[in-house]
């Protein structure tokens, strides 16, 4: 098969980029694979890309930032999408041209707005697979409305968790569209696993409020009080940096908690630690949890929607603690800090259990799904030939009506506010 991925920006750092690169290079073993990057802002990607995977940028911001068309808001890319501000008439046009002339058998969109492009603009003969790396429940009603209209024209939609796939099946009516959970994969580590001896807890991700690094730092104060020779290393950059620095100072943790900056790839950093940590309020998947486990670290995570509970088996290969509960987080970390044997045992379990996220099994599933989408498209029939049960139709219609109502109410409110100005 010839497979094209449509990606927001292959030159940045983030879970979607990592997982797309991983999947692309695994598929490149047996297929022709390219990544189309809508945006480009630097010469080389942060992550190395397998030379067998070609990379094709559409808009180079280093030259085209001031392009007249780039200064006008996008029309095809939905206005309700989070990244609408980074899209424009220029991206509308380039993505449209790219899809119109694409010689792939199947194109894979990697975010809602790009899935919409794919649904509306891919040629008839090209199979269309949308990927949801966030979650349906976290989208605004307006975005859900936009997706509900467009996604029917996809052949398949993948989510990263079973929980989100269930939400799509229940709340969106997508007749004929195969909805399936396809977890992110993490390649086999190139370094030996951590041995559990280092007195280092490692966390990684963008420094944004939803990741709750503030909670993690506060909970780590409990660890430092009892074990002052342990440190917490937080990798990543973002808007929370200065606030977190302030918190570290305020709590007097500057000898134990370190903001390490962004590092990619993280593997060499994970193996320096012996416990991974994630304190998010919300985690569509939890890529860093899998990365840490694949390096032999047990992970203490909040049991937030949706990813962590589908990755960690509480008490076996890590710990799940209630969302926003500083004391529970601190206690779970302390339990692993105090008990060397428990930490090592859970680390070994993490290494073993996380093998299900190795590219092998995940890629096999992706390959099967892509092949089915391609042959269904060629035969002119839907991939999913389920009979829509009356109940399901009614439920999803109910959700559609609710989103429409919320969106309309929002519009009305805006009109009222505008009137009051």
């Amino acid at each position: 098969m010839k497979i094209s991925f449509l990606l927001h920006n292959a030159y940045g750092i983030g879970g979607t980029i990592t997982t797309t690169f991983n999947l692309a290079q695994a598929l490149a073993e047996r297929h022709d694979v390219e990544i189309v990057s809508v945006l480009r802002h630097r010469e080389h990607p942060n992550f190395t890309l397998d030379p067998r995977v070609s990379l094709r940028p559409l808009v180079d911001l280093r030259q085209e930032k001031e392009h007249p068309l780039h200064l006008r808001p996008a029309k095809v890319f939905p206005r309700s999408e989070y990244r609408h501000g980074q899209y424009s008439e220029l991206t509308d046009q380039r993505i449209g041209e790219c899809l119109a002339t694409i010689d792939a058998d199947v194109v894979i969109g990697t975010r809602p707005g790009l899935n919409v492009h794919l649904a509306l603009q891919a040629p008839r003969h090209v199979a269309r697979v949308g990927q949801e790396h966030l979650t349906l429940d976290n989208h605004s009603p307006r975005l859900r409305g936009a997706l509900r209209g467009a996604y029917r024209r996809l052949d398949a939609l993948t989510t990263v968790t079973e929980a989100d796939a269930a939400a799509y099946r229940r709340k969106m009516r997508l007749p004929g569209v195969r909805v399936e959970a396809l977890p992110n994969s993490v390649p086999d580590p190139g370094l030996p696993a951590a041995d559990g001896a280092a007195k280092v807890v490692v966390a990684a991700g963008r420094l944004v409020p939803v990741k709750r690094y503030d909670l993690l730092i506060e909970s780590f104060a409990m660890v430092v009080a009892e074990h002052p020779d342990w440190q917490l290393r937080i990798y990543g950059k973002g808007e929370e940096h200065d606030r977190l620095r302030g918190l570290i100072t305020e709590l007097g943790l500057y000898n134990n908690v370190f903001l390490m900056g962004a590092v990619a790839p993280m593997e060499a950093e994970w193996v320096k630690g012996s416990i991974g940590a994630a304190a998010s309020n919300f985690e569509p998947f939890g890529m860093t949890i899998v990365e840490a486990m694949r390096c032999g670290l047990p992970v203490v995570s909040t049991d937030c929607p949706h990813g962590p509970a589908e990755i960690i088996e509480d008490g076996v290969d890590g710990r799940l603690v209630p969302v926003g509960d500083r004391d529970a987080m601190g206690a779970a970390l302390l339990e692993l800090v105090r008990d060397d044997e428990l930490r090592r045992r859970m680390g070994r379990a993490a290494l073993k259990n996380a093998r299900r996220f190795a590219p092998g099994p995940v890629v096999e599933q992706a390959e099967r799904l892509l092949a089915e989408a391609v042959s269904a498209r060629r035969a002119g029939r839907p991939v999913a030939q389920e009979r829509a049960r009356v109940h399901r139709v009614l439920v999803s219609k109910g959700f559609a009506a609710r989103d429409t109502a919320i969106t309309a109410a929002g519009n009305a409110l805006r009109v009222v506010r505008r009137g009051q100005r």
Binding site: R30, T48, P51, S54, R56, P57, Y254, M260, A268
Partner: protein
């Protein structure tokens, strides 16, 4: 299934191989050049010269084939590398151009608790790291003796630093001196309090000393320990872990004392200094 006429545009100029490296507890570094990368016989380490200066110090390492088709070079404990940043190149043959290397997997985990191992004189430290522009390099320190700073406790008027000597031992009358960088030669002396053995000690800097009197004003104060009254000074620094560039990572609170902002920090060379900024 793979098509034969794929539009492999290949935007990556991946001629430069990614070279993995691993450090052992003695500081020996093993470089692994993967199979399939450019033919090469040697690795070249070059001490990065100051801007506009010619390069002077080079080390060449032989690459030996490994079982899996790759090649391996070992930087042994000797030579002791001169202090500075060393760039790593692949030499395709003695006449040909150098290929600067990209970092592969770096296994430097043994460095993380390096401060727990006592060192002899001269102290040699090597940390493989990735440069800002994404290349593999090594940071090296070479010191006759070394004073490794550990925790720093900051109050609203002082800082207390715990430290450990390597390649020297503490005697009666040991002191820590903070010396103002630049011309005027101002120095303040603080007692070095002995710890559990003749290597560990601590000292407290009363910030008032740096902000009032004849030496008042903005400036940077570099910290040295004199392990005995007549002993030569040893620079206080923090070198014995895996952090090649510490300045932006190990950040200590700034406090206001007598109209001046004061904070300890690690310099670009990971040495310990105190910065005083007079308000206004």
């Amino acid at each position: 299934m793979k098509g034969t006429e794929g539009t492999t545009v290949g935007t990556e100029p991946e001629a430069r191989p990614r070279v993995g490296c691993a450090v052992d507890t003695d500081g020996r570094i093993t470089f692994d050049v993967p199979s399939g990368s450019a033919e090469a016989g040697q690795l070249l380490l070059r001490l990065r010269p100051k801007k506009g200066q010619p390069e002077k110090t080079l080390h060449v390492l032989e690459l030996e084939p490994t079982g899996d088709g790759g090649r391996r070079a070992v930087l042994d404990i000797r030579p002791v590398l001169a202090e500075g940043r060393w760039d790593v190149f692949l030499l395709q043959d003695p006449e040909s151009r150098r290929l600067r290397l990209l970092p592969g997997p770096r296994d430097v985990r043994v460095l993380v608790d390096g401060h727990l191992r006592d060192r002899q004189s001269p102290l040699a430290v090597r940390i493989p790291y990735v440069t800002k522009d994404g290349h593999l390099a090594i940071r090296a320190w070479r010191r006759t003796a070394h004073a490794e700073a550990a925790g720093i406790e900051v109050t609203d008027r002082s800082m207390t630093v715990g430290a450990r000597l390597h390649g020297a031992s503490l005697r009666e009358g040991a002191v820590v001196r903070l010396r103002r960088r630049g011309g005027d030669g101002a120095v303040h002396t603080f007692e070095a309090r002995a710890g559990d053995d003749d290597r560990s000690f601590s000292f407290t800097v009363d910030y008032e000393k740096l902000t009032t009197g004849t030496s008042a004003g903005s400036g940077i104060w570099d910290a040295f320990v004199h392990p005995a009254p007549e002993a030569s000074p040893i620079r206080m620094a923090r070198l014995l872990d895996d952090v090649a560039d510490r300045k932006a990572v190990f950040v200590y609170p700034t406090v206001t004392v007598s109209d001046a902002l004061v904070h300890p920090y690690y310099t670009v060379d990971n040495d310990l200094s105190v910065k005083v900024t007079k308000a206004g």
